[in-house]
Each structure stands twice: as C-alpha cells, then as structure tokens.
Amino acid sequence: MIELFDVTKRFGSETAVDAISLRVEKGEFCALVGSSGCGKSTTLRMINRLIEHSEGEIHLDGQPVRSFNEELLRRRIGYVIQNTGLFPHWTVARNIGLVPRLLKWPRGKIRARTEELLGLLGLPREEFADKYPHQLSGGQAQRVGVARALAADPEILLMDEPFGALDPITREALQRELQDIQARLNKTVVFVTHDMDEALALADRLVVMHQGRIIQQGRPIDLLHDPVDAFVESLLGGLDRGLKEAALTRVSERMAPFGPRLLASERIPYRASLSQALSVMLWHRVERLTVVDDEDIPIGELSLRRLLGAKSS
C-alpha cells in the first residue's frame, strides 16, 4: 500500500507537485495521467526517492519512505522507464539479474529466476539470455526492462511511461501482457502515462493531474461518466468519450441469447469490446452481430439496441 499525505515538491521557486494526497491499495493498478509537466513523473519518482519530496509524507505499508535506506528501498520497488535504461554492456540475463545480485541472492537462484522471467515475458531463454540490448527490438528491450523490474519479486512496481516509445501494435501487445502478468502476480502498480486509452485499459484507479495537483481520481468508468471539469472531460476524449467507455465493456456483458431470428452474418468474438462491435456494425452497415467464442462457435447475439444499453432487443 502506498500513501501520499499532502506531498509537495518544489524545484527552486517552482512548485512541481502541490500538496497531493493519494492512496494506492495493495494489488491496485493506479494510473497517473495528465499533460506533460503536470507533475505525474515527479510524483512517481518521489515514491522511490529518486526525487526527495519537499513537504508532506510518503508511506509504504504505513512506514515513511524516509525511514528506509534509499538504496534498500529502491531494491524493494520495481522500476520501469520509457527508454528502458538497460545497461548496454551487459547481456539480457545479467540485466535481469541486477537487483537479485544487489540483494546477494545465491547464483543458482538468480539464474532460475532470470529464466522464469524470460519465460513469463515470452522471451525464449536460448535465444535471448546472451544477447546484448542493442540486438533487441524496442518491444523486446522493454520486455527485458519489465523483467528486470520484477526480478526480485517486489510488491510495488513503478512504471514511467513504459510503452511510450513503442509503435502502437507492440504497445498494445505489451499492454495485454502487462494485464495478464498483473492478473497473475497482483502487484501494486503506479503507472504514469499520457496515453488515455492505455490508462483506461489498464487502470483500476485513474488519477488525473494538472499543474501539480490531483484534480480527480476514481474508477475509469466513474471519471468517464462524471468528469469534474472541462479539462478532465477533454482529457478523457471529449466527443470520443462514448467510444472510450464502450472500449471498457466487453461484448460478453451485453450479448443476448439467440432470438427467434436467423443468425446475423457478421461475427464478433465475445472478448471484443463494445467499441469494436460498434466498429464492425458501422463497417458492414448492420444492426446485429453473432457473438462467437474462441473456437468461432456462435454463443449469442448482440443487437445495436443492446449495445447502446437498452434492456431488451
């Protein structure tokens, strides 16, 4: 659990973070969003003391972060940054094993852990363990970055725009993987991004920052429905808000059992989002879709009316 109480950070006369309070529960995925320069990165880096806060208190599991030795504190917290920060003169395996080595784990345990993580992130050991960072693609390098952050099995993971430098396809793949990993490992994650779709897709809790202050926080769906002001509304997509909300809901939540009518010719997987279903309807100019499972077997149907939220079709 991470708690911030009235935390302020000043750089000279400039106030980067202005008396913010925030509580991230254990196992929660918290996304800090806002335009650049809003203080979200600074907030993140104050948690592992890469930046010291000027006022207020930051607690981890009830203990002030200042009560820990800063290196020991950081070894307990996973940290992922945008440009990976992999050491170019170390192999992938050695990069991943960094924190366990700092913690003086026995060599065999480090090797086993490194292999486990390479597997978890879909990087076959034989192919990747002995490569150097410059031999990796952007997506692979960031996978290694995530593996390195997870190496000593920290309870907390801080991620500073980890997928910001990746192309959209790789970014989506890594977001999905991060969701899977999070579902399995249940870490407490603080994730900084300026990509609202990314934040909406990943976060349990969304924290909107502007000019060093938190202006709204809550579940993504609540923020979409009740933006506190025009800034949050525009940040959450303005006119596109309906689509962003639809992207948060899966087809399976709205689908209906088969009615008396014939099966609709166009199909949609049950895992797809409502925004994707709407897109399929738009594309084919139809009002009904057949919902199929992973084996492409029809399991129900989705009408435009149900998609829009009406009770019956």
């Binding site: 592992n48 890469l50 800063e70 290196e71 020991l72 504190l73 950081r74 070894r75 307990r76 940290y79 940054i81 945008q82 440009n83 990976t84 920060g85 992999l86 050491f87 170019p88 003169h89 170390w90 192999t91 960094l98 924190v99 700092l102 150097y132 960072p133 410059h134 031999q135 970055g145 390195r148 801080l158």
Partner: protein
C-alpha cells in the same frame, strides 16, 4: 554509447581462442622490430655509414641504446601512470554531485591546456624543477593529464541518462554505479584519451634530453649538436618504433569488445 558499441558486437561471439593471437599480431610485429633495432643497431653500421660517410663514429656509443630505451619507457610509464591516476580521478570527482561545481573549470582547463605546445610546458618546468629526469616527468604528467581528463569527462557524460536513472532506480549505490556502469561504459573513450596522452608523451620525452634527462632523445640532440645525421636517425627510428608499438597496442585494446 550504444552506437559506438554496436560494431564491436560481432567480436564478442565465438572464435576467440585463435583470433586472440591474430589480433595481437600487429603490435607484436612492431615490438619485435623495436627490439631488433635496439639490440642489433651495430649490424646496420654499413647503412648508417651511407648517411654519414665522412664521420668516424656512426654508432651512438655514449650509452647503450637498450638502456636509453629503458629510461625512455620508464619516464613515459611513470608520467603516464600518474597522469592516468590523477586525470581519471579528477574527472570522476567533478562529475559527482559534490564536485560538480568544479566541472566547468576543469573542463575549461583541460581544453585550454591541450593547446599548449609540449615544449612550452617543458621550458616552464625546468626553471622550477631544475635539470634531469624530474622536470621531464612533471612536464609529461601535466601534458598527459589533459587528454585523459577531457576524454574521461566526455566518456562519463556521454552515458545515456536513462541508464544512469535505471541504475539509481534499481537501488545501486553510487560506488556500484561508478564501477559497474559508468567506468565500463566510458572505458573506450577513456582509453582513447590515454592512448593520445601516452603516444604524445613518447615523442615529447625526447625533448627531455635537452634538459639533461637521458633517454632516446640523447642521440638526436647530440646528433644535432655534432652534425651527425646517423645519430639522429638511430634515436628517431627507435622513438618512432616505440610510439607505433604502443599505439598499435592501444588500438588492439580499443577494438576488443567492451563487454566481456
């Protein structure tokens, strides 16, 4: 950093055993030539006579070439080791948070000093330190300091800030970051600075003969004074070979993959 490491990578994979000897072949050839000429100069008397047919003495005889070579290497080695220790530590000190205030000053001094001709450094050292080996060591030390400081600064500040950030974020101590990350990554650039310093110093040390240091500059100076071109050729030949030997050794060191 990563760009400069990229072309080195293929060396790091496979075929090391045999390749190692081939790699060191060039410096070994130059070293062999240097030793052959040092100990076998007498055999070349015939050729030296072609240069100076009228002079009775064509072989430098006041002391053996081997001992002059030894002196030369000794002076350069002492000055270079001191310059490396001082230069690298100074550059490290001013890139730490505590010493960062001095960074502009040291960087400035290093680039200004580089424009000083070595002879001028020597000329300034003699009145203070007198004649002999000491002034030449000091002059070489001062002159060698500059490329080393400059390159160490460049190497350390050329490291991707993301790497530094990650190292801190992972919980490495300042000492661990310096030893395991900064120095290995800056090593090729630092080594290039040392190479420049040592190579220049080998040539500059010869000037030390004018202030009473005995080394391979002796035959050259005495050749100039006595109008004996054969002496000059012997001194110049050996200094040249020594410089090339050392320089090609550094080239080898630099080409080896930084990651081992």
């Amino acid at each position: 950093m990563s760009e400069s490491l990229a072309p080195l990578a293929p060396n790091s994979e496979g075929g090391r055993g045999v390749a190692q000897w081939r790699h060191w072949g060039v410096p070994l050839i130059w070293l062999t030539l240097l030793l052959v000429f040092t100990f076998g100069m007498a055999q070349l008397e015939v050729f030296l006579r072609l240069i100076e047919p009228d002079t009775r003495q064509v072989l430098y005889h006041r002391s053996s070439l081997a001992s002059l070579l030894g002196q030369h290497v000794f002076v350069v080695a002492v000055a270079s080791v001191l310059a490396i220790v001082l230069g690298v530590s100074a550059a490290i000190a001013v890139t730490r948070p505590a010493g960062r205030d001095f960074l502009p000053l040291v960087a400035q001094l290093a680039s200004i000093g580089q424009t000083f001709p070595p002879v001028a450094v020597l000329a300034l050292a003699v009145p203070v330190l007198g004649f002999g080996t000491l002034p030449i060591i000091v002059a070489l030390l001062l002159y060698g300091l500059l490329p080393i400081v400059r390159n160490t600064l460049a190497g350390l500040s050329g490291i991707d800030p993301g790497v530094h950030e990650a190292a801190r974020g992972m919980g490495m101590t300042d000492g661990q970051i310096l030893r395991q990350v900064e120095l290995p990554l800056a090593a090729p650039v630092i080594l290039a600075g040392i190479r420049t310093a040592v190579t220049i110093n080998i040539a500059t040390a010869a000037i030390g003969a004018t202030v009473g240091a005995s080394n391979l500059g002796d035959p050259i100076i005495s050749g100039i004074v006595n109008g004996n071109t054969a002496y000059i050729v012997q001194g110049a030949l050996l200094i040249g070979l020594l410089a090339i030997t050392v320089d090609s050794t550094f080239e080898r060191l630099l080409r080896r993959p930084a990651a081992r």
